[in-house]
Amino acid sequence: MATLREVKKRIRSVKSTKRITKAMEMVAAAKLRRAQQRVEQAKPYAQKLDEMLSHLAAGSTGEISHPYFEERPIKKRTLVVIASDRGLCGSFNSLVMRKADAWLAEHRDTDNELVLIGKRTNDYYRRRDKNILAFYGDWGGVMDYGRAREIAAMLTGRFVSGDTDEITFIYTRFINMVKYRITMEKYLPVARPEVSEDEHGAVSDYIFEPDSRHIYSALMPSYANTKMITALVESLASEHGSRMMAMGNATNNAGEMVENLTLDYNKARQAQITKELLEVVSGADALKG
């Protein structure tokens, strides 16, 4: 058994670690609340935009004409990997990277390029001899809408100019506080919206001002931005959630460890007292002798 002094030192060090993980848990919880709000607030716009797009598709005569819908033979693919800047968030990053690796292994037949969001993705891929087109790091744990639009503009520009034929997202979707789903989603080309006979019945008698082509060209960039923003806010909320959980677990484990160590400490102390008593008693006996 370790000496009293050693055990005492360990207890002190575990306790201070626990204080740090506890603080990190609380910070993550606060950030999660904000990120979660962002997720909720972004939803109505995305939903309405989807609806509008499908009404537009239903009502517009003839072919949908917008470059974002163009499906070409795929010679070059782009993968956008979205993870976090910082670690200490459990398996959050490694799960995303594993999915991305699987995707890369599956699409060896084409020329692939990577767009990395979050420092951790860059740390992982820059050593792996992959074709990295762009890297966006240092988000500071908050959502930056301007930057999201910038990335969306870069990606759509590449697709329209023919530099890439397909763009896929891999990111973590936020389901609830304890549930996240690694999601793979095609970004471009956009799937042609389904023409559905919805609750309004015949929807084909819409008036378009000025005409459907103009509305498409105004609507599609917003659609691309919204998809990008959605992916980023979902990933951010998942990151803070994962970190909160990981730090919560660490705090609990530290607490347990302190308990065990305290038990050890008390046992060692008791043993020492017993030993000293025995020594005193046997010493006295010897003198009586």
């Binding site: 109505p44 809408y145 001002e209 919204t226």
Partner: protein, 133 residues
């Protein structure tokens, strides 16, 4: 009366029954009353004007977006919207100045389009502010 909801990428800005609505369509301002025919249009930067259930006229500045009307529901997707009372006039003026400069310095077509749009947005806000103050 019909239901109007104004939604921006950041949040639901407004949702209630209104009596009338005027929006800046790409072809000019257009008005919507109850039982309007189904319509989808893109919006320019400009002024949204609507009369709410208490006959109060309210003004908003919008920086572009889309409007869908169908079955007495008007959905307005705005890139950004704000009450004319909350316009920060100094910021708007600074934005206009910067947009002018960007317009002069623009080298590519994209930069030109972007600066032009920024100028329109700033000018719109300043105009609305001056109209209501």
């Amino acid at each position: 009366m019909f239901r109007l909801s104004i939604v921006t990428p950041e949040k639901i800005f407004f949702e209630a029954d209104v009596k009338s609505l005027v929006v800046p369509g790409t072809e000019g301002y257009l008005g919507v009353l109850s039982n309007h025919a189904p319509l989808i249009t893109a919006l320019n930067p400009g002024k949204i004007e609507f009369r709410d259930a208490e006959d109060q006229v309210r003004l908003l500045a919008v920086s572009g977006g889309f409007l869908e009307v169908s079955g007495n529901v008007a959905t307005l997707l705005a890139d950004a919207a704000e009450e004319t009372d909350s316009i920060d006039i100094d910021r708007a003026r600074a934005a206009r100045k910067k947009a002018w400069q960007d317009l002069k310095d623009a080298r590519s077509g994209e930069e030109l389009v972007e600066a032009r749009a920024a100028l329109d947005r700033a000018t719109n806000r300043i105009k609305l502010y001056e109209e209501t103050h």
